[in-house]
Amino acid sequence: MSYYFNGFYKALRAALKALVTKRITLRYPDVKLNIAPGYEYDPKQGVGLPGFKGRHILFIDKCTGCQLCSIACENIAQCIEMVKSEETPSAANKKNIFPQIDFGNCVFCGFCVDACPFYAIYMTDDYELSSTEKSNLIFTPKQLATPPKRKEDLVDIKIKGRSAYHD
């Protein structure tokens, strides 16, 4: 009998403790989680730098149009297509072909970043890519070259006492 009382009492106590514990919920559209900057790769060292694998950023002046990123994406998501882009002239890229990424297919594995030997494509911490139309998810070289908007209202996870919360 005391086993039951003890068990229920402890469970009730844990439940009532939760009433004074701060909630872990992140109220997302109002505030955003502070995440690490984007994933980068150093071809000289041969290792990546840890970071968030969000949408890509393309450095137009470094891209030579060598298609290595597109080849790396073959059989993974097949979302990188090399397109001729007149909007973004570049001295390094004589043929003027740049990657165009379809984020509707991209799995954000980052192997294209690993494949680039010219430091031309990195990933950013931009994860808000949703769109009501599928065609909007295809990012042209010019769109890829624009750095993501700086986010505001960033919060971190905090651990204090019994509660872990976003504040």
């Binding site: 844990a14 439940a15 994933y39 990546g48 790396a72 059989n75 993974i76 799995v107 954000f108 594995c109």
Partner: protein, 376 residues
Amino acid sequence: MINLSVEFDIKGKPSTLSLSIGPQHPGSGHFRLIITVDGDIITDIYPDPGYVHRGTEKMAEYRDYFQNIPHLERPIIIDSTGITLPFCLAIEKLMDKEAPPRAQYLRIIMAELNRIISHLYWLGIYGPFLGHTTMFMWPMGDRELFIDLAEMIGGQRVTFAYTIPGGVRNDMPENFKDKALKIFDHFERRLKEYDDIFINNPITDKRTKGIGVVKKADAIDIGLTGPNLRASNVKSDIRLDEPYCLYDELDIKNNIPVLSEGDCWARMMIRRIELHESMEIIKKALKRIPDGSVKLPFRGAVRVPEGKIFVRTEAARGVMGYYLISDGGKTPYRVKLSVPSFRSIPGMPIALKNVRIGDMPPIYWSFDYWPVEADK
């Protein structure tokens, strides 16, 4: 007008009712259990997997060894390190190379983090399967902490594509250790509250103890693995038996829980204890992790010499085995996955025999069956 397909037998045999639990049922995944009930007692069980079969093995034959990494983690995204790690080990063994020690430790850290993430997900489903709503929200909330940790290293929330042949993609960030230890401290406290509210709750005790028993002989015979086998009093863990990734340096002998009951409760407790022990293993690994490079200088498509190899590791659900045949080409000739979930299917008919319908969801989920993984 009303057809409940109740089979009334005039000869006085018990009348039975057949129920399709799944694939669209709140108590099943993409998986069907056709059960026959006599009154409230389940008399016959017929597992019917295959609703999410994608042909992973066939598709792997068309991808080269690097391209296979994001592909192969798809069957079980909540334990993605667990499923890609043996593949990388197999390639390294066929090439007769070994990843640098720092990479091995990072793999251990990632694999154990993934084990925690997977077990917390499991616990979060196990709660509502017993009707406990709070036990859904708490583990799912605390799982975010570990996903944040994994994201610091892997850059993604679930599918990291982190382990690659020859090491890992990147080093861990500097502030990882502090944050991890802080979160582990917090989660130890939370685990005690889990104990209070759910695991030691008298009703949970009554509902899980002594039901769905798989005896030791049966468990070995039908081929259960991992936590399910350890709950049936077999201390079998690949991390201990056939250490990979420098697990042998960590002295994890006492971090492998074994229980003798073999029932629903034991399978729950094993995972509950493993949540704690995995954190201990990560702490040990963080203490011992050496400096150095994290990757062998592989670039582009690797050529794997001709050969066959069977490699197994201990993923969150049990033994993850890969049988890899290479013909020296760019792509593997054959990739055979032996996944733990598939091996837990034959456990269900044994554990579910002669229990009540109400016990069906907790027993089913106590095997930690992941339909996508089993169907490959």
